[in-house]
Symmetry: C2
């Protein structure tokens, strides 16, 4: 299996040369701006790694992996809008609506989502696109719960808002490799754990990092009254939770033998992002 | 073939009882509010009529027809937002963002689009969803050109913003009936004509009707500096253009024999909407 950094390079190269629908015209600039973000590409890397571990080629999995990144990017562009999180900065640069205006940012998000489905539909079967749709709807439902603010639902919000796209990354990797349903349970459990782990680490980063190193407005979640793992559990307990989830993710991989063993590096790719 | 009004009733009944993804929770209210609009359902009726004229059952075509209406509704919800057309009224009622707030309206549009793809993917093949994606991207590209305001491109804007979804309605009706590519040209030409006809009639309505009868803010297009057929050609010439397009649409049907003859009623369903 290729290392996570190699898979990330493959994602970057694919996204860089990905043709978008020509009719978008100069709207394409806004899509490229948001896609060309310097993000870690965690979801597509996860998809590629799972597909490769199950015998598919990275090349076959790249459209699915890119589709996941486009859905993720769509969600960031819309969530940053003044009507939602009102965040002027994203990954150290002006948010899309600051750079292009609200109307163009809104349309660029709509176009990113549609381009994602276009990519998922380049496969000659419906399973990949169906799984992407289900995850996207779950993600939107999570954002809705987040802005309507029921703090008792924190884990449910994260399971939807962040977790569903991680689970879809694993599932679509399995789809590309045509892994039968009966062989999927451990992989799906790994996806659930990694998704939750990612969110817990994200909360820690938001609470602890400065705006400069984080590349987005730090401490914003708590100032907006959004509850986070850190605000509910405290930083120390949240750090322990991250370690527990990492162990759980690795345990999920244990039953899958050597072809999955090196996927454990992915758990660290997630948990060790910034510290 | 069933009359257009009967097909419209079938669409209404299907939409009324359509289960949405349960995880949406109370966000479903905002989707239902915008879907339950009293619109004429022109696009889904067109899809059903084309499918039925080519030997498919209305029942088989209803998910595709509903998917088209959901994409159309998504576009209305987002276009009405303050960041785009800033329209407070839609079909005689408060727009979604007035009724639910901007954030919820934005998310409800995202969810409508994703639910549309979910419906298009209930078919066991990718053609319907692919055609819906292509039309949606074209529609978004048209709205982008509309807000960036190059008046020289009026026909191109309408071909994208309105026409693409009409063409998709015809194409998806043909998909449901599994009409081979070689037999599609006249149907597609009919779709192009009806889409343009619809937009021309829409411009006439916007220029001539009062806000009360139109159910949205009348005369808004010209006040926003958007060029329309009426502002470019004058009302009289635009009315003649509508009649010419109607004749062209009917001519496109001529070569298709008796099974298409009754589709001509659809051209009148479009052109005679309000006068």
């Amino acid at each position: 299996m290729q290392a996570a950094d190699e898979l990330r390079d493959a994602v970057e190269a694919y996204l860089d040369s990905l043709p978008l629908t020509p009719e978008l015209g100069s709207l394409e600039e806004a899509l490229r701006y948001s896609l060309d973000s310097g993000g870690k590409r965690v979801r597509p890397v996860l998809c590629l790694a799972v597909a490769e571990a199950n015998g598919a080629s990275v090349e076959d999995a790249l459209p699915a992996a890119a589709a996941l990144e486009l859905v993720h990017t769509f969600s960031l562009v819309h969530d940053d809008l003044p009507a939602l999180d009102d965040d002027d900065e994203r990954r150290g640069r002006p948010s899309a609506h600051v750079a292009f205006g609200e109307g163009v940012a809104l349309l660029s998000g709509d176009a990113l989502l549609s381009e994602a489905y276009r990519l998922a539909l380049t496969y000659d079967r419906t399973d990949l696109a169906r799984h992407l749709v289900e995850a996207t709807i779950g993600m939107i439902a999570g954002q809705y719960r987040d802005i309507t603010g029921d703090t008792a639902e924190l884990e449910e919000i994260h399971r939807l808002k962040t977790g569903r796209l991680f689970v879809a990354a694993v599932r679509m990797g399995l789809d590309v490799a045509r892994v039968p349903d009966s062989d999927r349970a451990a992989w799906m459990a790994f996806g659930e754990d990694v998704g939750l782990l990612f969110q817990v680490v994200d909360d820690l980063l938001d609470a602890e990092a400065s705006t400069a190193t984080l590349g987005k407005t730090a401490g914003k979640d708590s100032r907006q009254g959004k509850s986070t793992y850190v605000s509910l559990l405290g930083a120390q307990r949240t750090r322990e939770l991250a370690q527990e989830l990492r162990a759980e993710a690795l345990a999920a991989l244990d039953g899958l033998g050597t072809r999955a063993a090196r996927l454990s590096a992915l758990a660290d790719f997630v948990v060790l992002r910034k510290f």
